[in-house]
Symmetry: none
Subunit: 255 residues, 2 copies
């Protein structure tokens, strides 16, 4: 990690710096938008919007921490990038996902309003699979530049990942068909966006193998900007679809 | 950029410093005003005021960051301006516009309450054009003092800019005629203010060519104070018109 930071060019530095700041601004705005939206939906959808805003709020906290950590670890003075020697804590991303990914899955389940027992069983199995997926991925990421270790943990993490994708596609397929007409398309889009945006993460995770090795500055920038983009789509973009579903379903019910 | 900072006079330093602080104060006040206004409009206009406040909130965040960055990059001690060598991150403006300009266009579309499909199609095409305009302008601004590069990217950025202006004038012209009588004038004024305030940006962007070159301290001050003025008009001033339209339309509908 340190090695990658010392070889950052000024442009690479600015790109990581500005994408982290962009994350802060977007997640703050999204959180406020979702929480204000609570007053515009009927009572059974208020919890969904609370959680949608919590996901972006937790992300806001971690992006703020990462921004500070990056500022402390690397400086740009007189056009020269220098690593201060302080650790850039990349684990914030995994701590964030450990909290937000189960919540994202619960958002999707809640907005569909399945039966109470199905809501609980699906939330539990998907939540556990998500936590497992992230914990295994973390062990690989924490290994830093050792490529074979990263590969093995990454491959293990792919097992719960595929289970979740399968459940979202096949398991929730029937439930989607039971949604009201005016939101069926939106729910399907939310499900597809979840799957599509999630494929970003393994791509970013394994990209350093194809690129110039996990320790290089190019790989570092790719990982930071790639994960930030994926987070923005999976949390704020996905949340916007959940918000639209909640608003439409509320309008359809008696107010 | 650094070169421009080292030659700032104490007066120039104060002008930039105070205009950034003025931006912070105005955007904070505007945000609170718009969000309080949510309780005074009917339910279909609450989202418009949420977004109007989000635009000034996002601007508030970036002006705060710019103020901090300016303070870290330049000091005024014993009447002498000195550059510390730390980078003044001028990219904050572009990161801000990337988020706020599409939202500003969505504000105008939402307050008009077009059909659902027209709202989505217009928001999408204008949003993409706005993002493209800003990204191209950023590439020119990031090139720093190299004048021909700034000129080429600026010229390219003008293409989506003109598309947006054309759409606002011609495309939305018919929709404005369908607005209720008591707000038609206001909606037209909001549309005109958008176009007028937006012409500030290319003027500020290209002004350094007429003045003393993009690297000089005079050009630096012109850019900072010019963009700040344009932001205040386009975000807080425009937002005030949107607020008035939302309040009048709410009064006309049954409460």
């Amino acid at each position: 990690m340190l090695e990658a930071l010392t070889t950052l060019s000024p442009n690479q530095y600015s790109l990581v710096y500005n994408s982290l700041s962009f994350g802060i601004a977007t997640f703050a705005a999204a959180t406020i938008f979702f929480w204000f939206g609570r007053s515009q939906v009927s009572i059974e959808y208020k919890t969904v919007l609370t959680i949608t805003g919590l996901v972006t709020f937790i992300a806001l906290y971690h992006y703020f921490r990462m921004f500070q950590s990056f500022e402390a670890a690397v400086t740009l003075t007189n056009g020269v990038v220098e690593a201060t020697g302080k650790e850039f804590n990349s684990s914030y991303r995994y701590v964030d996902w450990l909290l937000t990914v189960p919540l994202l899955l619960i958002e999707l389940i809640l907005v569909m309003r399945l039966t109470q027992s199905e809501t609980v069983s699906r939330s539990t199995s998907l939540g556990i699979a998500a936590a497992l997926m992230i914990a295994l991925g973390y062990l690989g990421e924490a290994s830093g530049s050792i490529n074979s270790t990263r590969l093995i943990w990454g491959a293990l993490s792919t097992i719960p990942f595929l289970y979740i994708v399968y459940t979202l596609f096949v398991g929730l397929g029937d439930a989607i068909k039971l949604q009201p007409d005016n939101v069926q398309g939106l729910v399907m889009r939310a499900r597809n966006l979840t799957v599509a945006s999630w494929f970003f993460y393994p791509i970013v995770y394994f990209a350093p193998f194809v690129l110039s090795g996990a320790g290089s500055s190019g790989a570092f920038v790719m990982i930071q900007v790639g994960y930030t983009t994926a987070d923005l789509v999976a949390k704020a973009g996905f949340g916007l679809l959940i918000y639209m579903i909640a608003v439409r379903k509320s309008a359809a019910s008696v107010r």
